[in-house]
Amino acid sequence: MNDLYEVFVRGKRGLNHVHVGSLHASDDEMALRNARDLYTRRNEGVSIWVVKASHITASSPDEKDPFFAPSADKVYRHPTFYDIPDDVPHM
């Protein structure tokens, strides 16, 4: 049971998988079974992903300045960047 797995659950059809926590298992199959018992005892999900924590590459919450900077300086990615006259419908 020595591998740490992160668990993601799709709450219902139409939603993304969301991280719910972690668990230990000795292989993928056991991780999936344990995840079912641990995180979906009350219909919390229709689909589960388990992934070894060591396979995840993550940024830190505090890295947002340099790491996410490229997403902040492209205002033209947002619909509000464009002026459309008020009398144009359905826009």
Binding site: H19, G21, D27, L38, R41, A53, I56, A58, S60, E63
Partner: protein, 335 residues
């Protein structure tokens, strides 16, 4: 050293990670501390890979581990009644409740691991009595009514303690508490319903409920911890927002909530000083035996040795399962 949960694999962009500690100047450390405090002031959550003061990390590890141990040890007093429950319905409910407590323990070990500890290590610390668990689980459950009273009073007190922890400043702990609180309400209600059923029964059944209430009432009040004047860490924990109310505030809230429930049930809470105080807008209640609390916490409660011994045996007797699972996984990896 263990992997940390929540994706600790390091991304290469800068950031403040502990392995840069050797290069970190005092100035940088002050900056980090200010950033940490600022995050808490704005009611934002601290997340696993954030810089945090070592004292905060140590406090959170201790708090979460103790909480996890309490859930795990807490399965024992009630677990004894699973094979003796009076009906299939009650057995199924109790089984589900005890399984939930196991789940709570695992959510919390998962949260503790995000702080860089390993859960196997935490189990060792529990078995070796180097870490504590809630004093309440060192009391015996000689009667079936104890199952109902535990659900009503012990889970009730736990709910009082845990609801504010859903806003704990440490993100993984707060999220675990949200899951746990959702499940606790079933625990309390099944206990109360069980007691209502017994109170509609025979005189002997009613006496059994009253006896259980008499035994569990004071230990339940002790679950909130020592009085505020003897709780030196409260101020710092409040400043860090890992604690949102003082022990005495939560205890008072629990008493006020429980008195009308006891009336509706038809039992007497064993405290001659318990009465409504219109000036305070709260119930006054009698003095708590803090010597008993300290004794039980020190290890001299009625069941301390038995609880730890059983946890140790379960761990040791389960070793072959862990070994077999590891061997099976290894065999499948080599084609």
């Amino acid at each position: 050293m263990t992997e940390r949960s929540e994706g600790i694999n390091k991304h290469s962009t800068s950031g403040h990670s502990s392995d840069e500690g050797g290069l970190m100047t005092a100035v940088a450390e002050t900056d980090l501390a200010r950033h940490f405090e600022h995050t808490i002031e704005r009611d934002q959550r601290i997340e696993p890979r954030d810089w945090m003061p070592e004292a905060y990390r140590a406090t959170m590890i201790r708090q979460i581990a103790q909480h996890a141990h309490s859930e795990i040890i807490g399965m024992q007093p009630e677990g004894d009644w699973i094979t003796r429950a009076p009906s299939l319905r009650r057995k199924a409910i109790l089984l589900a409740k005890v399984q939930d407590e196991a789940g709570h323990g695992l959510y919390l070990y998962s949260a503790a691991e995000t702080l860089g500890v390993d859960r196997a290590d935490l189990t060792t610390r529990l078995i070796e009595r180097r870490q504590k668990y809630s004093s309440i689980f060192n009391y015996p459950t000689p009667a079936y009514a104890d199952v109902g009273v535990i659900g009503w009073l012990v889970d009730g007190a736990a709910i009082c303690n845990q609801v504010p922890l859903c806003r704990s400043s440490y993100g993984p702990y707060a999220r675990a508490m949200i899951r746990i609180c959702k499940e606790e309400s079933f625990h309390q209600r099944q206990g109360y319903e069980l007691l209502m059923t017994m109170m509609r029964g025979t005189d002997a059944q009613r006496a059994m409920v009253q006896d259980a209430v008499d035994r569990w009432w004071w230990p339940s009040l002790m679950m909130f911890g020592p009085p505020d004047q003897d709780s030196p860490n409260t101020a710092r924990s409040m400043a860090w927002k890992v604690k949102r109310h003082t022990n005495d505030e939560l205890r008072q809230r629990f008493v006020d909530m429980t008195v009308p429930q006891a009336e509706a049930l038809g039992v007497t809470l064993p405290d001659p000083d318990l009465r409504w105080n219109p000036e305070r807008g709260h119930h006054d209640f009698g003095p708590i035996d803090w010597d008993e609390f300290k004794r039980v916490l020190r290890g001299d409660g009625p069941c301390n040795a038995e609880r730890i011994d059983r946890r140790r045996r379960a761990h040791e007797e389960g070793a072959w399962v862990r070994e077999a699972a590891a061997a099976h996984a290894a065999k499948r990896r080599t084609p």
